[in-house]
Amino acid sequence: MRTEENILVKLKNAGIKQNDKWLVKGVSLEVEKGKIVTLIGPNGSGKSTTAKIALGIYKEFEGTVEKFTNKIGYVPQKISIDWTLPLRVADFMVLTDDLDKGDINEALALTGVDHLIDKNLGNLSGGEFQRVLLARAISRKPELLVLDEPVQGVDFTGEIALYQLIKKISEKLNCGILLISHDLHTVMSATDHVVCLNGHVCCSGSPIDVAKDKEYKALFGEQASQTLSIYEHKHDHVHSDDGDIKQKN
C-alpha cells in the first residue's frame, strides 16, 4: 500500500556539494511506515551522507527533504566516545530520551546484551557496543529508524539474527527503516526496496531486480550478483535453476 500518509521521509533530488565536489547527487527516495529501504554501494559512494541528509544533520544541501516524523532512532556508522566521560550502558540508553527501566531492559534483551547494563561503555567489545547502539535506537520506539551499518563487528551468525530482529522490529513497531549496508547478500531477506548508490543512484528496485541490474553487476562484479541469485533461490524455492545460475563453490 503506497499512500502519501504512510511516508515518513522523502528525499527529492537531494545532494551535497563540498569544495565544488559532489559527495552525493540527485538522490530521490522515500521511506514508508513498516518498510525497509536499504542503501548499498561501495565505500565513499555517499550512503552515510544520504542518511545524514535525511536526518537533518547537514543543514546545507541541494534538493528537498521532507520529514513527517520527529520520533527518530539513529545508529551512526562511526561513533567515537571520549573516555573522559564515565558512561555506563544504562546511562547511554537514556541519552536522548527518558525511558523507563522496562523499555530499556526489553530493548537490551532483544539485541542480546541485557547482561551488560551496568558495564562501562568503554569496556565493551565492538560487537557488544554495536548491539547496545541498536538497542538504544529501538528502545525509544521510533517511527523512523536509520541504521548505518548496524551490525559491523558482529559475528556472522549474530549478523543474520540481528537482521531478522530488524525485520521483526519494523513489523512490530510499524516503523520505517533506512538501512545502510555494504553487503546486499545478508540484508536480502530483510529488505523491501534497495537503492544502489555510487555518488548518484545507479539503480533501485526490489532486491532481486537490483541484483540483476547491469549497473549493479558493473559495480559489484558478476560474482556478487550470482551469489545473490543463489541465495534468493535457496530461500524462495519458487524458481527452478536456469542456465545463468551457477552453484557457489
Partner: protein
C-alpha cells in the same frame, strides 16, 4: 552572621563550588579548559570597564566574556587557524588590553593581585547575593539544557538526528561559562577560575563511574577545596584563590591512589 569577612568568604565559596562542580564536568568532557581560560582572561577587560563606568563588576564581566566568546566563534568561521591558537590569541590580547586600560585609569586604585588571584576580604554581602542568586540561576538553566548538552557531548550527530537541538544548548552553555566567571572572579581571581572548574572535576573523574556520580563528586571536591583552602588562607595569611586551588590539587593527588587500586583489581 555575615558581618564576619571569613563567614562571607566561606558562603561565597560554597555557592561557587556548587556551580563549578557540574559546569566543570562539562568543561572536562567537552575539552574546554583553554576556552574557560580565554573567557577568564577577558574578564579583566570587563573589570576595567566596570570601574571606569562605575558599573556592576559581575554584570560587566559577564557581558565582556560573552562578547569575547561570540568573537571567537566568528574568528573560527573566518580563519584557518587552529582553535587553540585562536584561544591563545584572544586570551593574551584581552589580558593585555585590560592591563593597558588599567594603566590609563591611574585615578582609580586597583588591587591587581586581588583581581588575578582572588581576595576573600573583598567579598561583601552584595557579592554573596550575586553568587547565590546567579549561581542558582546558572544551575537551573544547566538542568534545563542538560539532556541536549550531555547527548551532544557524547555524540553530536546522534543528538542532532534525534531532534535535541545541540547547537542551541552549546550556545547557552557558553553564556553559562561567562556567567560563572563573572560571579566567581572576586573569590578566586581570573587567573585561577579555570582551575576551580577543572581540578575538582578531574578529581571526580578518578573516583566515579557514571556521569551523575562525577557531577556529585565534583561538587564535593569543590566544597572540600573551599573549606580547606579558606581555613589555610586564614591561618597562613595566603591569598584565597591559590589556597583553594592548592587544596583541590591535593584532593586530586589523593584520588590518583584510587585509580591505581581499581587498575590492580581489574588485572
Amino acid at each position: 552572621m555575615f558581618d564576619d569577612f571569613f563567614i562571607r568568604a566561606l558562603f561565597a565559596g560554597i555557592g561557587v563550588a556548587f556551580v563549578t562542580g557540574p559546569l566543570g564536568c562539562f568543561v572536562v568532557w567537552r575539552r574546554l579548559s583553554y576556552f574557560g581560560d580565554t573567557l577568564a582572561h577577558s574578564a579583566l577587560l570587563g573589570v576595567t570597564i566596570a570601574f571606569s563606568l562605575e558599573f556592576n563588576i559581575a554584570l560587566s564581566v559577564f557581558i565582556s566574556s560573552s562578547v569575547i566568546a561570540l568573537f571567537l566563534i566568528q574568528l573560527q568561521k573566518k580563519t584557518n587557524l587552529p582553535g587553540d591558537a585562536l584561544l591563545g590569541l584572544l586570551a593574551h590580547s584581552s589580558l593585555a588590553v585590560g592591563l593597558v586600560a588599567i594603566g590609563f585609569l591611574s585615578f582609580i586604585r586597583f588591587d591587581i593581585m586581588g583581581l588575578l588571584f582572588g581576595d576573600i576580604l573583598a567579598v561583601n554581602v552584595n557579592d554573596l547575593l550575586i553568587i547565590w542568586i546567579g549561581g542558582a540561576f546558572i544551575l537551573l538553566v544547566l538542568k534545563l539544557i542538560w539532556k541536549p548538552l550531555f547527548a551532544s557531548t557524547v555524540n553530536y550527530e546522534l543528538a542532532e538526528a534525534e531532534g535535541l537541538n545541540p547547537d542551541r544548548a552549546k550556545a547557552i552553555f557558553t553564556l553559562l561559562m561567562a556567567a560563572i566567571i563573572a560571579i566567581s572572579i572576586k573569590m578566586i581571581g581570573l587567573l585561577l577560575i579555570t582551575g576551580m572548574l577543572i581540578i575538582p572535576a578531574a578529581f571526580a573523574r578518578n573516583i566515579s563511574d557514571s556521569p551523575k556520580g562525577m557531577v556529585i563528586f565534583s561538587i564535593i571536591g569543590g566544597l572540600l577545596s573551599v573549606f580547606i583552602g579558606l581555613f589555610s588562607s586564614l591561618n597562613f595569611n595566603t591569598p584565597s584563590g591559590p589556597s583553594i586551588i592548592m587544596a583541590a590539587l591535593i584532593l586530586f593527588i589523593i584520588s590518583l591512589f584510587k585509580i591505581k587500586q581499581s587498575i590492580k583489581l581489574k588485572n
